[in-house]
């Protein structure tokens, strides 16, 4: 009840509408709903670490998807040499990518913190190209994928029979959202990160070492997306350009949610995943799925600026 009272009327309306849509879809196109939540889960999961960097360090990391792709290769490579399952490889990936993130920050990002935004974009775009070319040199452009039997496990619910494994992305997105929120609210580094994101000069004046905070958050974000890459590999093939669509989608989700709003990144990811799956479920219209993503983005941004004008 207290939660309900805290929501504004517009939010309640939105909640009811989205619940209504969910119920309708459950009756009409249950497979699209399931597929959408799974796809959307992956989008949300990948977008969260990017939102962290944008909210705290204030940089749009265009190499985000490439770090995910490299994480997938890392897990593949570990699997080939040690037989490690990609889901277990997430742990060494976390460590290796924390170091890679720190090195990237110290060698490149740190020098561009005071540069104009366009230069920062170009810089991270350059990092993305280096990452993709590196993968190309090491593993060629051939798609790679380990054989894992557990990803084909399925579930039966009433008359529905569907692949259950991919819900791992949906669940992980929610778990990561909860963990990141706790980290930002409860730990000293997390609170420092929020402070730096809201006012870097204010943060310096309360005794926060903002350079160390930038470094820690950047390397945390890359560690997370590297481990997510390992998880990505369980159901998807990896190739040098496998990551770049996710950079774009992550950025769109964050633009939808508003900077610093992590929960909306996740709900937005689910919503867009469902919208895409719905379009894909009409035979012959599959090519429109990518358009949907950007159409929803444009609609929401226009809607927001319209509201601002009338307010």
């Amino acid at each position: 009840m207290r939660l309900l009272r805290r929501l504004r009327r517009g939010q309640v309306l939105l909640l009811l509408v989205s619940l209504g849509v969910l119920v309708l879809m459950m009756l009409w196109k249950p497979y699209a709903l399931i597929e959408g939540l799974q796809r959307g889960g992956l989008y949300a999961l990948i977008a969260l670490p990017m939102a962290l960097i944008l909210g705290v360090v204030g940089i749009i990391n265009l190499a985000h998807g490439e770090f995910m792709m490299l994480g997938a290769y890392f897990a593949y490579w570990l699997g080939v040499y040690t037989g490690l399952d990609p889901l277990v490889a997430m742990i060494p990936a976390l460590v290796a990518f924390a170091l890679l993130g720190a090195a990237t920050y110290l060698l490149t990002i740190r020098r561009a913190l005071k540069a104009p935004e366009l230069n920062q974009l170009l810089l991270t775009f350059g990092v993305a190209m280096v990452g993709a070319e590196f993968a190309n040199l090491m593993w060629t452009s051939q798609p790679l994928k380990p054989h894992l039997s557990y990803v084909y496990s399925s579930m039966t619910l009433g008359k529905l029979r569907f692949g259950a494994y991919a819900f791992v992305y949906t669940v992980s997105a929610i778990v990561l959202l909860v963990l990141l929120s706790l980290f930002l609210r409860r730990t000293r580094l997390g609170r420092a990160a929020l402070a730096v994101g809201q006012n870097p000069r204010g943060a310096k004046l309360v005794g926060i070492d903002i350079n160390r905070t930038y470094l820690a958050i950047f390397s945390l974000s890359i560690a997370l997306v590297g481990a997510i890459g390992a998880m990505f590999l369980t159901r998807n093939s990896v190739f040098p350009s496998a990551g770049s669509p996710y950079t774009m989608k992550s950025f769109c989700l964050i633009a939808l949610a508003g900077i610093g709003n992590l929960p909306s990144v996740v709900w937005g990811g689910f919503g867009l995943g469902i919208a895409e799956a719905l379009v894909l479920s009409f035979r012959g219209y599959g090519g429109w799925a990518d358009v949907v993503f950007f159409a929803v983005l444009v609609a929401v941004i226009l809607g927001r600026s319209y509201r601002r004008q009338t307010a």
Partner: protein, 233 residues
């Protein structure tokens, strides 16, 4: 405690601090001057937000010149900036807590420090959950002062604390600055010479980046130049 000697600072070609020297012991000291005199530049140089070209700044015998801002703050200096620099999307309480959270020496005394903040500014106690960005300008000023005091600084620097406050609050504010002066040393930059002189025991007048005049408060109060230029007498 604080000694600034022969400081020179330039923005491009503009020479904004000229051989500026001043010192603060354990008392309260005022820095007065018109718009653009260099007051903000001076206090920013002390906490390391700007790097002067020549001169020296020492605090408790240690040079602050190459220290990053966070180290200056952790060594016992707190600044209430002219622009307040709060965290707009954090609650009043979170802003207050941030004042002590990153100062190892202040972390233990948070409950007492919070109580002292609420005693000094009772309005903050009724607003603990409100976002700092939604406070009025005057309330934000009080929060900025309270946040700086959360670190129990040895030296509190205030940059034009009376800016944007209604007249009755200005009087009250300078009373509070005086109370704070019982516990901490104070360096206060101000344009409201008439009222702020009562809160400090000594003062410097800066004009065009250089010290034009200095002395005990009552001496400045009776100085002809101060009376004509700053008190409108």
């Amino acid at each position: 405690m604080l000694a600034v000697s022969k400081l020179n600072h330039y923005y491009g070609k503009a020479h904004v601090l000229r051989d500026l020297s001043l010192d603060v012991g354990t008392e309260s000291v005022g820095v007065f001057g018109p718009n653009g005199a260099g007051k903000t530049t001076l206090v920013h140089a002390i906490v390391g937000l700007v790097r002067p070209r020549t001169g020296d700044i020492t605090f408790d015998g240690r040079s602050l010149l190459r220290m990053p801002t966070y180290e200056v703050i952790r060594s016992g200096v707190a600044l209430v900036p002219q622009e307040r620099e709060l965290f707009p999307y954090m609650s009043v309480l979170a802003n207050l807590e941030s004042g002590a959270a990153y100062i190892p020496a202040a972390r233990k005394g948070v409950p007492e420090a919070l109580q002292a903040s609420f005693e000094m500014f009772p309005i903050l106690k009724t607003r603990t959950r409100q976002l700092a960005g939604t406070l009025s300008g005057g309330e934000q000023r009080m929060l900025a002062i309270a946040r700086a005091m959360m670190s129990s600084p040895k030296l509190l620097i205030l940059d034009e604390p009376s800016l944007g406050l209604q007249p009755s609050l200005v009087t009250e504010l300078f009373h509070k600055v005086r109370d704070i002066g019982e516990k901490s040393a104070i360096l206060m930059a101000e344009q409201n010479v008439r009222q702020s002189l009562k809160a400090v025991s000594r003062g410097y007048v800066i004009e065009n980046g250089a010290i034009a005049l200095q002395g005990p408060s009552d001496e400045l109060l009776h100085n002809d130049h101060v009376r004509r230029a700053y008190l409108g007498l």
